[in-house]
C-alpha cells in the first residue's frame, strides 16, 4: 500500500473511532416535555433502570419539580425504557462498565463519560455551563451524533 493511502485509511478509521452515534429521541412527547428544560438526551445514553428511576421521580428532578400528568409520564417512561442502551442498544457505548447493581441518574457520572471527557478546568467548565450542555462541543448532539468536533 502506498503511504498516502495508508495515511488516508488511518485518518478515516481514527475519525470513526472518535464518532459516537446513537439514535435521537423519536417520540414527539418525549422530545417536547424533556426538551422544555434541557437537551433531549438520547435513550441509549442510560440503562432502562435509570430511565425508570428518573421518570418515577419527576416531582424532584435534580431539585426541580418536573411533574407531568401520569399518562404523559407513562408514555415517556415506556419510550425511554424500551430504547435504553441496554435494551435497544448492545450495552456498549456510554453505558459500558456501569455495575448491574447501580442505577446512575446522571449521564455525566457514567464511568465511560468521565473516562472520555476527563476533567475540564474550572475556566472551561464555566464556559460550558453545565455538563449536560453536550452541544457546546458536540454540535449535532441533539441528533445523537457525538463526534469529536
Amino acid at each position: 500500500m502506498r503511504p498516502i493511502f495508508a495515511a488516508v485509511l488511518l485518518m478515516m478509521t481514527s475519525q470513526q473511532a472518535l464518532a459516537y452515534r446513537v439514535p435521537p429521541v423519536a417520540d414527539k412527547v418525549t422530545q417536547t416535555e424533556c426538551g422544555a428544560c434541557h437537551m433531549v438526551y438520547p435513550a441509549a445514553l442510560l440503562p432502562a433502570r435509570s430511565w425508570d428511576a428518573l421518570t418515577s421521580g419527576l416531582a424532584n428532578h435534580f431539585g426541580e419539580d418536573a411533574a407531568l400528568e401520569q399518562t404523559v409520564v407513562d408514555g415517556i417512561k415506556a419510550y425511554l425504557m424500551s430504547n435504553a442502551g441496554d435494551v435497544a442498544g448492545d450495552g456498549r457505548g456510554l453505558i459500558r462498565g456501569v455495575p448491574q447493581d447501580q442505577t446512575p441518574l446522571r449521564i455525566s457520572e457514567l464511568p465511560m463519560f468521565t473516562r472520555i471527557h476527563g476533567n475540564f478546568s474550572p475556566k472551561t467548565m464555566k464556559k460550558i455551563g453545565v455538563a449536560g450542555n453536550c452541544s457546546f462541543c458536540h454540535k449535532a448532539a441533539a441528533k445523537g451524533m457525538f463526534d469529536d468536533d
Binding site: 431539585g63 426541580e64 419539580d65 455551563g129 453545565v130 449536560g132 450542555n133
Partner: protein, 139 residues
Amino acid sequence: MSLKVWIVTGAFIGGLAMPVLAAAGQDAVLALYKTQAIADDSAFAGFSADRGKAFYASSSTGGSPDTPSCSSCHTASPLKAGMTRAGKAIEPMAVSVSPARFTDAAKTEKWFGRNCKTVLGRACSVQEKGDFITYLNGL
C-alpha cells in the same frame, strides 16, 4: 385605491390588530384566575402589576436552594431571555417580547405548578398568579 395602497393599508391594520389579538389570549387566562379569586374570596380587589413585580423579584428559602427566585432562571429583567439550570434558553417572560405567554391556560397552570413548588416550596395562590401575569402583560 390602487392594489399597492390596499396591501399597505391591510398590512397596517393587520399590524395594529395583532397585539389586540395577543392581549385577548392573556385576558382569557386572567379572567379564569379572576373567577377563581372571587370564588376564594368575595372581597377580592383585583390583580396588581406592582405586587406581581415584587413577587417576581422576591427571594424565598422555601424551595430549592438553587432557585430562590423567579429571576434565578428568568433573569432580573423579564424582557430578557433566561436560561434553565440545564443550560437551555428560556424565551423572555414579558408578553410584549413573547406574545404567546399566558395564552394557554393548561400550559400556564403546568408551569406555575412546577415552578412555584421549585422556587417557593408550595403552590402559588390565585392572587399571586394573577398579579404575576398582570405585571408581565403590562411590560
